[in-house]
Structure formats: structure tokens, C-alpha cells
Symmetry: C3
Subunit: 275 residues, 3 copies
């Protein structure tokens, strides 16, 4: 929702959303909470074509008590208001490659000491996973127009390319990247059932566009394993990859270092899991 709420201010008319970094979930939210999103421009750089530029923003989600519930950095390619304007001085923010596990915010009161592995569906705790391990989540979902539009409205993302078939030259609706993230996270239950809670987003890229009719599958790579400050609560750093119309894990990029055309999402996050 906080991501979606930034659309009118930032990306309604964006050429492309390029990436995410330094995302941290700081406090739980509850039914009935009122959330606001506040964004600050922390960097910008004109592209060499003189027509577009990259804008970096830090967004903070705040609840009705004024508590920060979420923070993240994103960057997007925007059109210049006036092409004839001089290029602004380039300001590039320094961004962390990944959140340090010591900085992860474990929700107060979270306690895995009576965790019911049999009800969760899988017996795997942190010690069952190894750095470098690749997990094929096996299942897949073929997306239809009506459902991705309804999901996108729930997130309050109003960007017209998701709803109006006349807004792209090819007459297709672009599927909201947040819907792809959500489907990939849901698919990842199969193999990561106990990775209960996402607490940080190290980086994220929407690698290629997704359209109705695409069949989405997902796989994960274990990038790191750590303990949090709370006994019994471990953390896994995971790369979550969503892809279209292709089964099973494989390379992300071609020889030119660009994402292969079937790769939709390359997401790097920390999740909490019983240790």
C-alpha cells in the first residue's frame, strides 16, 4: 500500500521503474491503521539523451501514531518537464548493497519458541538451509487481466498502463510489478514455508514486462544466513526470481549482462525464520 501510494507523486508518468534498495519494515501494521507515504528526492541525474533522467527517492510509510512502519529507496526514469532546461547537477545517493543483519528490525514480542512446524507445512528451520542453495518453488500461475487489475487497485496503484489498453502502442496492459512480487512471494511458500516475515529489501529490479497470459513461476537462492539479536529468530537473505513461461532455475543474465527476456523480477530480501 505504501508503495502504491507513491504512484501519483512519482511514477504515474514514469518511463520506467528501475530499482529498489535499503528497504526495511520497521513496525507491524494492523487492520484499521491509517498509513501515509512521504517521499524525499535524494538524488537525480540527467540521461545522456537530454530528455529523461533518473530520480532517486527515499519513501517512508508512517502510521496514525507517527511511527515509521516502512522505509525504502527507489529510482525511476522520468521525462524532463522542459527538454530545453539545463541539466541539473548530478547527485547520486550512496546506497548500501544489503542491510546488515544486525540492523534488521524484529517486531517486538515475536517469539518462535513454540513454533508449530507441523501446522506450518514444512519442517525446515534456518539450519536446514545452506548459502548458495537454490530452491525451485515448482508451482506456477497463469495471470488473467481482471485479477491483476483488481490486485493493483487494492494496492491503490493508479498508473494508467495497468488499466487502459490504449496507453501502450501494443494495446496490452502492463502487469504491475507489485503483483509479480506478490505472486512470487506466494509461490515461494513451497520450499520456504517457514520464512515467515520479510523484514528488509536489499535490492529489487523489475527485469522485464509481464502481461496477461504469462505463466509465472519462481525460484530462490539462499544468499546469506544469520542470527538476529533475538534468541530463536534467524534471518535468511534470499534472492527471489520470478520468470515467465519457463520452468525451473537458470541463469538470470545473458552474455551482454542484461537480464534474459523471461526474467521478470530479481529481488534480494531478508526474512525471519525459526533458527
Amino acid at each position: 500500500m505504501v508503495f502504491g501510494k507513491t504512484v501519483p507523486d512519482i511514477s504515474l508518468n514514469a518511463v520506467a521503474n528501475l530499482g529498489y534498495a535499503e528497504g526495511r519494515w520497521l513496525a507491524p501494521i494492523f487492520t484499521g491503521d491509517t498509513l501515509q507515504a512521504v517521499s524525499e528526492v535524494i538524488g537525480l541525474k540527467e540521461n545522456t539523451n537530454g530528455k529523461t533522467g533518473i530520480v532517486y527517492l527515499r519513501t517512508r510509510g508512517v502510521n496514525q501514531h507517527g511511527d515509521s512502519v516502512l522505509e525504502f529507496v527507489r529510482w525511476a526514469m522520468l521525462r524532463k518537464r522542459q527538454i530545453s532546461s539545463p541539466a541539473p547537477q548530478a547527485v547520486l545517493p550512496e546506497l548500501d548493497g544489503a542491510i546488515d543483519p544486525a540492523d534488521l528490525s524484529v517486531p517486538e514480542g515475536l517469539d518462535f519458541s513454540n513454533y508449530a512446524f507441523d501446522l506450518a507445512g514444512e519442517p525446515y528451520r534456518l539450519s536446514a538451509y545452506e548459502r548458495g542453495e537454490v530452491i525451485d518453488h515448482v508451482d506456477a500461475i497463469t495471470i488473467e487481466e481482471a485479477e491483476h487489475m483488481m490486485a493493483t487497485r487494492l494496492w491503490q496503484n493508479t498508473a494508467k498502463v495497468h488499466f487502459d489498453v490504449t496507453s501502450r502502442a501494443d494495446g496490452k496492459r502492463l502487469i504491475y510489478g507489485g503483483h509479480v512480487i506478490s505472486l512470487a512471494r506466494a509461490l515461494s511458500f513451497n520450499g520456504l514455508a517457514n520464512a515467515q516475515m520479510i523484514v528488509a529489501l536489499n535490492s529489487g529490479a523489475h527485469a522485464n514486462p509481464c502481461f496477461a497470459g504469462d505463466t509465472i513461476s519462481a525460484w530462490s537462492e539462499v544468499l546469506d544466513i544469520a542470527q538476529t539479536r533475538v534468541p530463536g529468530i534467524g534471518a535468511m537473505r534470499l534472492r527471489l526470481v520470478a520468470q515467465k513461461n519457463q520452468a525451473g532455475p537458470g541463469p538470470l543474465r545473458g552474455e551482454d549482462q542484461r537480464y534474459l527476456p523471461h526474467i521478470l523480477l530479481d529481488l534480494d530480501y531478508w526474512a525471519l525464520i525459526p533458527s
Copy 2:
């Protein structure tokens, strides 16, 4: 919901729903309320073909405390039960052209004195609009089958033309006019973000049928501007037009005074806005 609840009694087998008038929202409703709809026939007239007629009804929505929450008049073309029956005496109700702004029901406790224009998304209060002004709401939505059916079920409208492709000769599902109203009202946020609350429906017509695949856009015309009895709360009378597969405002009717084929909805309502 009150509109939808009248379907089994009135329009399940109607040939066409023709219009609305004298609609007033009288009291707010809340989660958990139980609503009933009661309709009274206030007029009828046989058509010259002797097979159908126009029936006028006044419907009242009542909550569990017996308070009226909504009133409106509608008329629809129905088939005669027996074509051989003599024509009933024609009774045509006298209907107001528009609700007098002095009769608008401002919900008790509504107070715009601390209205947060920056959070609402637009800075425009009543004084920013002028009679005769036309507002293009710019955005558009292409409708799909599954979503319009689900919306129609939520409103408890059970008319078979919305769900069963065998009920029309062309094999298409007719999209519920209430869904078009809802989409047009949602689109109108862009330009009328502070027109917070609809309090009266002066008139309304479903001008042409709408089908899945149609791209819906909307524009508004400011018909009148008024103050309510409550300080700080103004009222705007707006014409809201929904159209299909065509961008931007334009004429509603052709030289024969009929609605042009791309016009879906012509709705005349009063909304409250900070003055």
C-alpha cells in the same frame, strides 16, 4: 446495494432501465448495518405498441433502526403480463428537475474546517470551480468480464444479462450500469478530488450499453455551485459523463437529439466540497 436489491422486484426481467431522479442520500451507513429496500409504484403508462409500458417507482433504503438512508425515483420499460389486457390509466409522476441545494442532507457532524488539501491530492475548493467549466478526467479503464461480474454481485444485482452469455442474442454480457457509474465516479477523482460526498442524484440515464473490452473514460461539467446551510461546506452540481473508446469531452447527443453511440452515462448529481 439498495439499488441492486431492487432488481428482483423490478428490473430482473425489464426491457430497459430508463432513468433516475430525485435521489437523496439521507443518512450515512456503517459496516454491520442491515439495509432494506422498499419500492412504491408512483406512475405507469402503456407504450403505443401495446406490449410494453413504463413503470415509475420510488425506492427507499431503510437501515435497521428504521431510518431512511436513501431515496430515489427510477423508471423502467417492462413487458405487460398479458398483452390483451386493457391499457391502465396513464399516471405520470411530477418529478423535480434538480434537488434544491437548500434540501441537500449534510451528514450530522460533517466538518471541513480542518480539511487537509495536501493529503487529498488536489488544492481545489469550491471557489476554484466555475459554472459551465468542463473537466477532462484523463484516465481510462478497459473493462474485463470477470471483474464486472464480481462488482455486480457485490451490489447484489442478479439480473441474468450481466452473468449469462446465452441471455442476449449477441452472446455478450451487458455490463451493469451501476458498475459504469462507479468507474466514472472513481475516474472523476482526477480533477474533483475534493468533491468528497455525493448527496443527491438529480437525474441519470444509461445512454448506451457497455461490454467487456470497452475502454471507459469520463468528463464532468460544473452545472451549478451553491452553499449549504453548514458553514464551510459547499455543494457542486455536476454532470458526469462516461463514454467508451473515445477520449476527452464532446457533444452528448447527435442532430436527432439521441445520445451518440459512445456515450454510456449522463448523470446529474450534487456533491459536497470544502467551500
Copy 3:
């Protein structure tokens, strides 16, 4: 939900779900309840092909207080883990043909003495129906992909044939049988508006597959009429048939005793109705 929750344990990889029996709703559930499903294998039999077998299970749904809210028996065709394994000894459970009306569980506090027939939509109480009577529910619904997938997710059924077009050779998504049951029960309102509450499932079969684009209609046959132990509360045993692309009641089976290809569902249940 309890039905859907059994999917990961039982039918995710099933060849076919074959039938239901001895289903009883034992206690009402409320918003906020937490339900668990526990299943016990009560019979199994290898098929003559040596590759598959029939497994019979009794599933019990339990709420957070440990009360049973639902019990039923189902059987499904599953693949053998190892084809070379010897056939297990066949165990066939003895199943009742129909629940005795004296064993129906009437929810505590249920009282039809002030039942408002005018608000319910139909005037028919138990005495208005006769054994052998056939009721055409008239209405029909044409199913689309997006909505059946969303309904299936709500029931927490994760079987891949419902979501992934690559999981069947014909590239179609199979529509969840529970969605067909739900649509048929909703359609049956027209003619059975006062059959308020399903309390037992005597038997049920998904006779043929259903796909998006199919137009579903339904009809019912009154199999039995009984009084419960509670004064004023009667029970009707009903056969509910859902069919595709065909209007009105007709034979269920061909000369070979197999279900005709347009029959989707053959469900035998008890419902409570004012007597």
C-alpha cells in the same frame, strides 16, 4: 475452507477426486475462528492397472476450541509412490447411503418461529414441497478464468490444475469443483430461497470437468422430506445438479450408466427449512 485445506495433504497430485459421503456440519463458525483440518485414511484399494489406487479419508474440521465443526468422507484416485510395490490389502469403508434425519445437527438456538417469508423472497415452507418434485432454478452463469481462480484461492485450494495453464495437455485451467458447488447452491436460491442451511452431505460427485466459458445452470430434485427434533424446523433432502451449456432438468446418465457429458455435479444433501 476445511475442504480446501485438505488439498496439500491429499489431492494436490490426485488423478481425480471421485466422491463425498457422510458429511455433517456440526457447529456454526464465526468470523475470527481458526480452523484446522485433520484427515484419517479409512480405506484403500489398488486399481487393476497396478499404477493407481483409491484412497478413502475421513476429514474433520476443528475450531480453536477443539470443537468439531464439520466431518466428511472423500475418496480420490492417487498414483502409487512406487509402481513395483506390492498391492496393499484392500480396505473398503462401510459408508451410509444418506444421513438419517434424526442425526442431523440443528445449530443451538436456531429458531424459525418468526421467519420473515416476505423478506426471504419466496413464501414456500417445507409443506410446499413434495418428494420427487423437480425444480428448475432457471438462471445461469458463464464462468471466466479470473473469477474462478480468485474463488479457489479464497478456499485455500492450491492445486496447480486450477491456476497453471501448462499443467494440462489441453492448456486449459480446470475449474475447482468447489466453485461449481458454490455456484450451483447460489443458483438454487431461485426456488429454494428458504432452504436456509446445509447440514449434511449424503453424497457428491464431480461428474465432468468444467472450464472457463462454460455456462452453468442448476436444477434440484426433492429426495426426501422430514422433521428434525426441533419444532418448526424441517429438513429437505435434495439432489442438486449442475450442468454446462444446457438449460433445464433432464437425465443424469446415459444408457451406459455413465454421467452424460454436460453433467458437472450430482450432490445429495440435507437442508433446514421452516416447516
